[in-house]
């Protein structure tokens, strides 16, 4: 052949090759996206040398290309062929493991021949299984079964596991050959795989294993047999299932399997489940009895519930608690009497369970009993009864509680009143207003407190009367909170204090006026500010103090300068200290003020502070800031022995907030804290924080 002919052949070959390549390297996926097979080839070439720890760029890129391939079988097959070639090459372990993972997602039976080679090699068997376990098709199962005879030890166990994962019923007899393997690990794997497959065909193999093995192998056989029975139940073969369960409740079966078999039997028993449960609760061994009680919740018919509940007195305290709790969950009122009796059981845990159960099983007639227990000295029982009283359902329950109040003794009254609050019984407001006059202060206080929750703004006049007529400071403090709370319910937020201001104009009594001033501060209606500022100049010091306190309670920083002025100028120590504390509190409130201004205010407060208490408050406030200036300000107090602890804590809190944006300053501050603090716990925390910055 001459050179010319050679050239012609070469050109033809090149054209053919290019044409072939063109046809094959770019294919359209179902999503009409082009998949660049050339790119895949290039990436595979790189991945061939991939080792753990190398850049993952090429792997990520391949994943992205695969995503663009979509679900089109034709495209995926072409990619799969390339993966097969890759796995047959001398690629690295890490590269092959990655490609096997990809095959696990897109692979088909076409990959099985290649994977089967990797499967029988102990070094690559796992990665082959990662792919094979996810690839559908009988061919995979056949390959796995065939590989069992070519492998041993851990490799073979892995393959057995895979057959179990794939639930391959065709493999049952093959797996059966391994349940008596001299290697116990292999035998157990085979039994576990049969459990995963859970088909009746495995029953005889499993029965035989149960009869002939011991220890963990036998336990695995029992557990797998149990799964066969569960599978029979799921497929509606209840009689067959029950016959298996019956074989698993014997005394030579571990308790956990017995329990599960009992449960299975109960679920499969349909109409007979109730009587079966009753029998076990009466006569069963402790482990199974416990579960039988648990299963009361799942009884398909409730006709046996009464008989089961009637067994309560015959049970031990632990089982009693369990049964009462189960009956409460079922919530069938027909068993109420049994539970009611248990509220007087000699065992406290039983009593407690019964009291709690009345929340769902109790009726309106139980109000009195629950209130009495709620008023009793035992805190646990009292708490449980209060809870049940608050949850008791029924149209008449609120009214029954209200009617019971007048004739009850003081402690019971308190319990009843508190329950009205918990029940959100707004219909009780009028009655509660009356009981604010109860001669027993516990009752009046409870009524005032509960009114805070239940009273609507329309009751404000009556509540203000309650406030101004309080007989003690304790009552008055509660009434202040109640009136404040109800004022906050007024929808017009700018006029929440109108009634209070009006009342203040009518009232002359000093204690009452002071109480009303306190309310004004807590409500924070701007209309009240001039009144409070005027009160600062009242000649009566008690009124002045009330005004300072009210302004200190103000919900915004509006009166901050008034308080600062008093803190600066007052000659009365008490007024000065109270105003200063109020001033510090108002600096801490949320505002639009730049942080450097807050720092300046804190520095002013520090300068005005005459004792350690206020100085510590300043540092605590500084600790809420998040700037370097705040950090420097807090750090500045570290040398002060009196304030060192608070300065450290404040600095540390600031550091935690600014370490990301100001690592240098944070590091410096932490190093200083670590080197000087005597607080070991803080030191450790600071060291951890420093570690994070590094």
């Amino acid at each position: 052949m001459n050179q010319k002919s050679n050239s012609r052949i070469f050109v033809i070959a090149l054209v053919c090759l290019l044409t072939f390549s063109f046809i094959n390297v770019t294919v359209a996926s179902a999503a009409s996206q082009k998949v660049d097979l050339h790119k895949i080839d290039k990436l595979l070439k790189k991945i061939r040398k991939y080792k753990f720890g190398d850049s993952r760029e090429k792997l990520t890129e391949l994943s992205a290309v695969l995503r663009s391939a979509g679900n089109s079988p034709d495209v995926l097959l072409q990619i799969e062929r390339r993966f097969d070639n890759f796995l047959n090459s001398k690629a690295t372990f890490a590269g092959k493991q990655f490609i096997c993972h990809k095959l696990s997602l897109i692979g088909s039976e076409a990959s099985v021949p290649t994977l089967s080679k990797l499967l029988v090699d102990p070094k690559t068997s796992d990665m082959a299984r990662y792919a094979l376990e996810r690839i559908p098709g009988a061919k995979v199962n056949e390959t796995l079964v065939a590989a069992l005879s070519q492998t041993s030890g851990k490799t073979r166990i892995g393959i057995i596991n895979s057959l179990g994962v794939r639930k391959d019923a065709m493999a049952i007899s093959t797996l059966g050959q391994f349940v008596s393997d001299s290697d116990a690990a292999t035998a157990t794997a085979a039994l576990a795989a049969l459990g995963n497959i859970a088909q009746p065909d495995a029953a005889s193999i499993l029965e035989n294993a149960i009869a002939t093995t011991s220890g963990q192998v036998r336990v695995t056989a029992l557990a797998s047999y149990l799964k066969v029975a569960d599978n029979l139940t799921a497929s509606g073969k209840l009689k067959d299932a029950i016959s298996v369960y019956e074989k698993l409740v014997g005394p030579d079966v571990p308790a956990s399997i017995r329990v599960a078999a009992f449960r299975g039997q109960f679920k499969a028993d349909g109409d007979g489940a109730g009587s079966y449960l009753l029998k076990v609760i009466k006569y069963g061994d402790p482990q199974v009895k416990k579960v039988a009680i648990q299963l009361v919740r799942e009884l398909p018919q409730k006709d046996r519930l009464g008989q089961i509940a009637a067994e309560l007195p015959n049970l031990c305290p632990k089982n009693k608690v369990q049964l009462i709790t189960a009956l409460a969950d079922v919530g069938d009122h027909s068993v109420r009497d049994v539970v009611l009796k248990a509220t007087t059981d000699e065992n406290k845990n039983v009593r407690l369970a019964a009291i709690k159960a009345l929340a769902s099983l109790g009726e309106v007639v139980d109000v009195e009993l629950l209130a009495k227990i709620a008023a009793s000295a035992d805190r646990d029982e009292s708490g449980a009864a209060s809870e049940s009283l608050s949850l008791l359902r029924g149209n008449d329950v609120d009214q029954t509680i209200i009617m019971a109040i007048p004739s009850a003794d003081a402690k019971v009254k308190v319990a009843l009143i508190n329950s009205l609050g918990a029940r959100d019984a707004t219909s009780a407001v009028d009655n509660l207003l009356k009981s604010t006059n109860d001669p027993d202060q516990k009752v009046s206080k409870a009524s005032i407190k509960v009114l805070a929750e239940l009273a609507s703004p329309k009751y404000m006049p009556q509540l203000l009367d309650v406030l101004v007529n309080c007989k003690s400071d304790a009552e008055r403090n509660d009434a202040i909170m109640t009136v404040t709370n109800v004022a906050h319910k007024i929808s017009d937020e700018k006029n929440q204090a109108a009634d209070v201001i009006a009342k203040l104009e009518q009232v002359q009594d000093k204690d009452a006026r002071i109480a009303l001033l306190r309310v004004l501060g807590k409500v924070g209606d701007e209309h009240a500010l001039p009144i409070l500022k005027k009160a600062l100049r009242n000649e009566d010091q008690d009124v002045q103090i009330a005004a300072i306190r009210a302004l200190s309670d103000w919900p915004t920083a509006n009166p901050i300068n008034d308080l600062l002025q008093i803190a600066k100028t007052s000659t009365n120590t008490r007024n000065q200290v109270l105003a200063l504390r109020g001033f510090i509190r108002l600096i801490k409130l949320e505002s639009d003020r730049p942080e450097k201004e807050s720092i300046a205010l804190y520095q002013q407060a520090m300068a005005l502070a005459k004792n350690a208490g206020e100085k510590r408050m300043v540092l605590s406030g500084l600790g809420e800031l998040r700037t370097v200036a705040a950090l420097n300000a807090a750090m500045g107090y570290l040398p002060n022995d009196e304030l060192k602890t608070e300065a450290e804590m404040a600095s540390f809190k600031i550091v935690r907030r600014l370490r990301r944006d100001h690592p240098k300053d944070a590091r410096k501050a932490l190093q200083k804290i670590i080197s000087t603090t005597k607080n070991e716990s803080l030191k450790k925390d600071a060291e951890k924080e420093l570690q994070r910055i590094k």
Binding site: E57, A184, G215
Partner: protein, 441 residues
Amino acid sequence: MTDNKKMDRREFFRNGAGLAIAASVFPTIVPSTVFAKSAAVLPGNKITMGCIGVGWQGTSNMNNFLKEPDVRVVAVCDVDKDHLENARNLVNKKYGNQDCAVYHDFRELLARDDIDVVSLGLPDHWHAIPAIAAAEAGKDIYGEKPFSHSLVEGRAMCNAVKRYDRIWQTGSWQRSQSNFRFGSELVRNGRIGKVHTVEVGLPSGHTDFAGTKGQDKFTTPPKELDYNFWVGPAPYLPYAKSHVHKNWRWMLQFGGGQLMDWVGHHLDIAHWGLGLEYTGPIEIEGHGDYPRDGHYDTATKYRIHTKYATGVEIIIAGGYPEIRGGTKWIGEDGWIWVNRGGRIEAEPKSVLQEKIRPEDIHLYHSPGHWRNFIDCVKTRKTAIAPAEVAHRSATPGHLGQIAMLLERKIYFNPDTEEIIGDPEASRMLFNSMRAPWNVKI
């Protein structure tokens, strides 16, 4: 009955035979280096506990159980000897004795008949196997969120807990906090009208919890750590400091990133408020920023949109500032937002003044998350965060992860727990396990 049959499980493991035999479902394990003592005689009426996995979260849970007067921690287990030693010292210090037994292998601890309950504090890839083994051994279980490392594993765990009638409590402790319960009760009782959207804001990025981020060089594992056991059922990867304690969660083969770390908290609360605790989404789509390089491969920023059969849309996002951290239910008449630190906000604000009345729906009231578990072990009442609920809370996370990795919308049947019409996505519902480990499905 043969003599062998009479041998109890503990004895079986102690004489060594059990170690070999158990390895069919479980690998052949390191010979017992364990120093297990016979259990001391315990004061009656205590719940005996074994703690498996006593690193960061495991120790935190253990410390909570140590505070309970009716619990006695009798054994601890970890594949890191330093963790083990630390946990043993904590227990012994608490009880003023030297009785706490230590185990390297969880199967030995589970074989003890005198242990009633176990607390599992393990990395995600180790959630299913010990949980199912514990259920099979008749132990009640406190386990961590996310419930499982894959949806199929989660279903297997639920089945085992149900089959053996075990009490299960998940570490979704927000359920035991009053603000989360109150917010959920308000939503459940219609106080903000029909809810059409829920925003679930989760953290983003790869927080360097262990201070090991970037320490990616492959080295010989430290002598205190049995690294092969630690990797267990996950695909093998050489040891690097950045892979293990605390930061394992940033690698998909061991954990699920911020998404899976938190979905068992704020999404769990979202479900609670909506009464969707026993179902799942029907449509899921999302986008995740997965690092293209480096050892950590979980999404650093993500946004998942899920739709439920009720019509509600739940958006799960990390790294999107417009989705505020926590759970926000948005209804026709307002919204309610809850987060940690007792925080609860609403619009209109008056919603928060509402009371849950006797005739309203009252959600489960737990006196404390760890306490609730112990109470339920005693009363056999279902705990506040049971297995099935935890599984359903993890489900949108698993599905979201699949949708993001495949970058396409997926459709899900929550009744059959199958992905519809997407074979590739369906295959991602289950992770294969390295031999000889296996999960009992």
